[in-house]
Symmetry: C2
Subunit: 218 residues, 2 copies
Amino acid sequence: MRIAVLGTGIAGRTLAGKLVEVGHSVTMGSRSATNEAATKWASGAGPRAKAGTFHDAAEDGELVINATPGTVSLDVLAAASTRNLGGKVLIDVANPLDHSAGFPPSLSISNTDSLAETIQRAFPTAKVVKALNTMRADVMVNPERLAGGDHDAFMAGDDPEAKELVAGLLAEFGWRPEHIRDLGPLDAARGMEMWLPLWLRIFMTQGNSPFNIKVVSG
Amino acid sequence: MRIAVLGTGIAGRTLAGKLVEVGHSVTMGSRSATNEAATKWASGAGPRAKAGTFHDAAEDGELVINATPGTVSLDVLAAASTRNLGGKVLIDVANPLDHSAGFPPSLSISNTDSLAETIQRAFPTAKVVKALNTMRADVMVNPERLAGGDHDAFMAGDDPEAKELVAGLLAEFGWRPEHIRDLGPLDAARGMEMWLPLWLRIFMTQGNSPFNIKVVSG
């Protein structure tokens, strides 16, 4: 598949790298076609890796991943353009973290709304699926590194076929079907984003080792 | 220990029952001394169980547990009175769930504040510890029933000795030390309360079986 990864941060680079590794063609999108992080990534990631503007990337991609900071995601997607997003699956892995008052950040959108829903309203013809925002990038693409993969990835979205496609990508990353938890419609993204404050406190107390959660049922 | 449990709902009754079972004396507090749920509970729970007003219970208790709906907790604690809470450990297991717009509820306080912090500000001489709000009542008092106890309870508070006392109570409930995760100061309660929207979505998709989360680390 041809995939656009919007964002050149650790999440964008890690996802783009893994997608190329498992056989997809990736265009990493950023503000300018000469963005250093993106061109460096593309030149090191082989023939299926390219760099371009947000617009170039979204135009190329059959599927688009938003891996930008949540506070700029709407601007980035506007630059990608409604036309390039229309009808496509848009995986939103971003978190609306507001760092303006220091660390730990609060959320710029929460409770009765979510970043994912905001994006869906702004781009109604895109098929937005919230996924992978609940964990660090290295865990997203390599679930096996924690407890042999015995932990969970959540997913929310209004389009069942879009979620099937996303579940397929997660499987390519190593997620086993029983650990991919479809939480239902896109407004379930509120919970997935509001998990971040607890994630941050666990991170702050246990130090810099990767972690995730597993739902334990009775 | 003499413990006040404020609230006659499922969380209050379950906690009160377990506390009596492990040897504590419990006064269940409610709006009136003749509250049916409280007097019924007390008459069935043996000689160490009593019922009374919020004020009676808090006066009796050396430790106080807030197990009331989060939206009424401040009123309940005001009825218990500042004087009866002063210097005491106050375990806040409540969640600020706002059901006014239907199900699933949103939170009435979140993001840059929490119910626990609101309570601490209103009763500055109490030693507020947030705990156990992240799971169903039957899991709180019987962690072994899920995966042999291999899942986690979080805790937040500004007073280290108060948290030690709470950890001791959790141990009496069956929580093993490695599963009691101290997340630091009381503002970590924001994350513990903001977990509820994700909890609710897991609940809505997996049905009415008890569950909790385990932090899986690398």
